[in-house]
């Protein structure tokens, strides 16, 4: 289990991370969200020991993270962190050895992963000769070659097409099922929503929202109503508690303040004979994110 306890980091006089605390249990996927410069990378760097926190501690299975435990951590950086002049085999051997693995074990694992990602033929190819997507696969392999207890994924889907995103997600879920703790960051909220159970949203280094995704959605009182058909739009717009009415390609999206407004909207809609759909949904994580980040910036 990973514990981040009241961690603060200053760069000069600038507070990059402000009293951040969270826990990631074994077999849990945790989302660390925030706009650019929110403090995500600094947090990751503190977790893997690249940066010393100004205050606070980071523990993995009750042990303070230092070079005695880093062999059990896998880290995928946001930018490509590959030595592009090396071949795939040389690169993975290099990083695997740095994790304290034997050459035999590394080769066995490498063959497994190359097969899994359908790129066996690239084993002897130089990394610079590979496409962006395949480079990302190699980077991912280098992060998981040691079957990490803690897997840190900073924007893992960068440069991947939807098929490969799906493949990565599957693999990440497999790691979760095998008991690894996974921390994950992405700008793509739909990815986070798909498999993060817990998350924290950072704004200027400070947590503005944290907890379990289900609970966050539940606590977020605003709802969305999808309507298909003809109805009195002005009447809906003028209802108290209706925040907005947006015409989209195939339907209308009505955003409301709370669950109690649903009934009021329904009363207006049912007057029409041409309604084919009336569906109430929880807001997306993207909306919650935008709302929370917006509030904090305004605040």
């Amino acid at each position: 289990m990973l514990s981040v306890n009241h961690v603060t980091k200053y760069y000069d006089k600038v507070k990059a991370v402000d009293d951040l605390s969270f826990e990631v249990k074994n077999g849990e996927i945790f989302g660390l969200l925030g706009v650019n410069g929110a403090g995500k990378t600094t947090t990751f760097r503190m977790i893997i020991g690249l940066l010393e926190p100004s205050s606070g501690d980071v523990f993995l299975d009750g042990k303070k993270i230092d070079y005695s435990v880093t062999d059990t951590i896998g880290f995928l950086t946001e930018e490509r962190s590959l030595l592009t002049k090396l071949t795939v085999k040389e690169q993975i051997l290099y990083y695997g050895k740095l994790k304290g693995m034997t050459e035999e074990k590394i080769m066995e694992k490498l063959d497994y992963w190359l097969q899994k990602f359908h790129i066996e033929e690239y084993k002897e190819r130089k990394i610079k000769e590979l496409s962006k997507g395949n480079q990302q696969k190699i980077q991912f392999i280098s992060a998981v070659i040691n079957d990490p207890k803690l897997l840190i994924l900073d924007e893992p889907f960068t440069g991947l097409d939807p098929i490969n995103v799906e493949m990565f997600m599957q693999v990440i879920k497999e790691f979760k099922n095998s008991g690894s703790s996974i921390i994950f960051s992405s700008h793509r909220m739909e990815h986070v929503e798909m498999f993060c159970e817990k998350l924290v949203i950072l704004v200027k280094g400070k947590s503005v929202l944290e907890g379990e995704l289900k609970q966050i959605k539940k606590d977020y009182r605003k709802k969305n109503i999808h309507i298909q058909g003809k109805f009195d739009k002005e009447a809906v717009k003028n209802l108290a508690g209706v925040l907005s009415l947006e015409e989209r390609a195939n339907d209308f999206l009505v955003k409301i303040e709370s669950e109690s407004v649903i009934e009021k909207v329904f009363q207006v809609i049912k007057k029409s004979d041409e309604i084919t759909e009336f569906r109430v949904e929880d807001p997306t994580l993207n909306e919650i994110f935008l709302s929370k980040v917006g509030e904090s910036y305004e605040g």
């Binding site: 690249l50 940066l51 070079y67 062999d71 930018e79 962190s81 592009t84 304290g100 280098s142």
Partner: protein, 435 residues
Amino acid sequence: MKDKLKFLTKQSLKKKIDTKWFKGVNILLLVLLLFLANMDRVVTFFGGDFEGEKNIYVLDEVNGFDFFSNTFLASSKSLEEINNYKVLKSSLSLESLKKSLEENKEDIIVSLSFDETNFMKAEIISFDEVNMMTKQMLISSLNSLKETMAFQNSGLTEDEILSLKTPVSVTSTYLNSEVQGENQELIASLAILVIILPCFFLIIMLVQMIGAEVNDEKTTRSMEIIISNVSPKTHFLSKIYASTLFVLIQGALLLFYGFLAFLLRGVFAGGSDSLMLTGSVGEILQVVRDSGIINILLQGLPFILLLFVFSFISYAILAGVLASMTTSIEDFQQLQTPIMLIIMVGYYLAIMASQFEGAFFIKAVSYIPMLSFLLSPVLYTLGQITIIELGISTLITGIFTFVLFRYGLRIYKVGILNYSSTKLWKKMFRSLKRK
């Protein structure tokens, strides 16, 4: 962590040595050194106009042909491989000899005649300009002939003339036991050629290699993965060890190539002793042998080697620290210029050491780390500093290297993960205070 240090060092060294470029460059270096050491042999091997027989016709009115001919042939002996001269007494007239020069343009006519006030006078006639070396030998032989004629006319006996012509016997006695004799400038030139010049190039290679490697890891962000698995200290040490090892291997290879080049020269010279060296190289080595410099060098060798190793490490540390601070190879290349200038200062002072014997400034600079490895061995070879002073210089560089590593590591730790050049120097100075 020790295994990881070993692995990183091996990996870094492999990256430098196990490449087609390293092998290619070394083959080229070997070929070039073989060529440089045997250049004259190569030139004569392919032949040219110089090979043809050249006649020197002497029109002798002073009865000095035998003396002139013997003197000239003796002095031109060392050049007989490239100048095949024959000295002939001619009974033909000057005009017919001049005509023959139009066909045999390499031939020379030397006309000797009496002179009332100066004993004799001479005229050298050729079709084209005579090369400087040959002309010098001709003039020198003519001067000797004139001298002999003067002595003969003086009424001195032959023994007296012989005694007069024998050079004065001079014995040099030095009361200072540390003085290594004459030929200091030659020895200094040799020390610069054999020790300083290769070191100069090796340091440049070392600085460039360590800079490129650190920069490559930084710019590709693989540094983050590496440093998340090994400490910056381990990483830094691996770079220092690998580049110092590389320099020592390359230095040893250069020495080996040099040895092969001279060995080949000996083989070219022929004879039963294949190690026999001929010509100027042989003479130089003879001077070195006679001067006793080899014994002195052997005594100081442990200090000299230590001084080199410490200095290589110092430059590796400095290059590593500077590379860690920069965010691109272009920035590093700019920072490299002052390092090159530091080495240049040492190099030129080493050259000046034999001209300004006992110069206080040069001696003082020989204690300064990063310059001492260029100056101290030369000053020691010239007898301008003692083995104790060489030892002190080595010790100072050793201590400096340790301190440089201790404080350099603090900058390195911060620098390798810094991607911004904003307030760079402030960040680096602040990192010096952190333990």
